[in-house]
Symmetry: C2
Amino acid sequence: MSEVYAARRARLRERCQAGGSASALVTRPANVRYLAGPAPQDTVLLLGKREDVLVCAGPSDDRPSAAGGRPDEALRRHILSGPGGDPAVAAADLAQAQGADSLALEEHHLTVARHRAVRSVAPRLRLADLGGAVEQLRVVKDEEEISCLRIGAEIADQALGELLESILVGRTERHLALELERRLVDHGADGPAFPTSVAAGPNAGRRGHRPTDRRVEEGDFLSVCLGATYRGYRCEIGRTFVIGTSPADWQIELYDLVFAAQRAGRESLVPGAAYRDVDRAARQVLDSAGYTQGLPPLTGHGVGLEIDEDPQLTPAAMGKLDACVPVTVEPGVHLPGRGGVRIDDTLVVRPEADGGPELLTITTKELLAL
Amino acid sequence: MSEVYAARRARLRERCQAGGSASALVTRPANVRYLAGPAPQDTVLLLGKREDVLVCAGPSDDRPSAAGGRPDEALRRHILSGPGGDPAVAAADLAQAQGADSLALEEHHLTVARHRAVRSVAPRLRLADLGGAVEQLRVVKDEEEISCLRIGAEIADQALGELLESILVGRTERHLALELERRLVDHGADGPAFPTSVAAGPNAGRRGHRPTDRRVEEGDFLSVCLGATYRGYRCEIGRTFVIGTSPADWQIELYDLVFAAQRAGRESLVPGAAYRDVDRAARQVLDSAGYTQGLPPLTGHGVGLEIDEDPQLTPAAMGKLDACVPVTVEPGVHLPGRGGVRIDDTLVVRPEADGGPELLTITTKELLAL
């Protein structure tokens, strides 16, 4: 892996130098992990003029370390001695000691207070904005990253499949969510990719619903959204079911509609497609059926080391899909008081020649009556 | 509750006006919750010149809402129409529209990029630093807050007690952690207060250890640290056990030492005690036994709406304890390769006349052989 991290840092360095900064300070945890591997909490990475340095807040034995291994052994480590020190400040000090004249910072992550502390310790450094440079590098995944997402998706499919075989009526959203998270770990996940959402009855179809003590009842819609983290990579799957023997007509109609919207979104995932066109493909199916109110602000988003990455598939998004970009497609409709439907897959954009979008989450999307 | 929130906002307003700002923008989630009640994700609070306003990122139906109720109904809501907008920017706009000339911001929470966006939308506002004003208000708890912590501690005690009655040998750290989290919810917690830590054998005694697939074995030290969130309030308990019939002599010695250090810390919790003296009371017991290496940077910390709040009980901490401040006392020793011991309680500082420190986490601290 060490070569992979080194190659990523080399690409970032090129961008920095193009931007006029010989040095960069990476503070956002997922970005540090992308460039240096799993590191203890609060670790920052200095892309130095002479040398790259991983600056850790304390002896790692005493610090929770990111799951999934160790940081790049090829990197020099600098460990703060005392407690309470800010690794970003120490890293800026090192950058100045290396003779850098400018340092690019992640101004979208660094707080105003930390930025001030950095400036005060390194007054000779010209502080620039690294912006989302690392996030941009992270958008297109290599096959190693995609295989982590694929395994995570298999784990999520397994956990969901097992839940469907168990008794659901009478159990609370909270308990179902916890059981799903336990099963994710049973099957080898580092942990859940995000707080598992289980939404029954009137809650069903709400994006990001936090599980409550609402019990599953006959006739409910039940929507479930979960994901596994595997070696740091996070995937997502969402399905909606009906509880009981036979769905009501309105449930079948609503389900078919959301399914059609989700399929339209999936089918629009081709290299070169504009983000907004993917969103429109799904959204217009719902619009044309009169569901203009209460639609989620996005149809999908990128996934990777974070569960919500670029690209954002929204009406206003700029940019086009590349091959090897994993995204979710997750349209939904929620009818206040009645519940609703969400269907959510994680797919990888692939060229037509390679068979088109690769579906990672393969649990059936038929409307199951449980 | 509405009066409670209003009273807290009134106290903050006094501090702001003393600091020369008629308006303040609170963005840190726990601070927003403290001043306005449970609000949807990304909600910010404007303490306005004419009126206080809760600014939400979107229709709350579409946004995960903090567990434990609704925001203060007495507050005016301003909901952003489009997606992707920053409530902090919208709030600054409102502040300017109210005729404020200055606005105090949480520079320790707001990123450089958001701060710039705020400045650009409200150029006529003088932007000041609110600093940790809200965090300072949060240090001393009212009895309502303490009762939430007390209930959370009871829940954590129950979950831990049940685990101790089950078979442990052969099970992995991960599974024990998940079972504890399930039991927390079984007993009415909103969820875990932080990622449950279960550490067996050589991992035992490591602060913030992330559970692994290491299985519990005969002769292990097993240290467990968990907490419940109840109505948003987070407590913490940590215990260390030995697995098997009879602990080894080194285990008994190490346990007795950490127990003595933890007791010394607890007994030093009196109103007016300096934070650093509480730390020293516990630390010197370990120091005098020769354990100067690898001691955790802190002996304890405040708890409340966040699991790690002020005060920090460290050698360098400034300040003195007040009554009604809940803190943890959690010294530990970890011997690389062999494991170690941590003992962690949540207590509330009380005057001698009221019986001294109130122990919230009452699970026995005898060395149990399981």
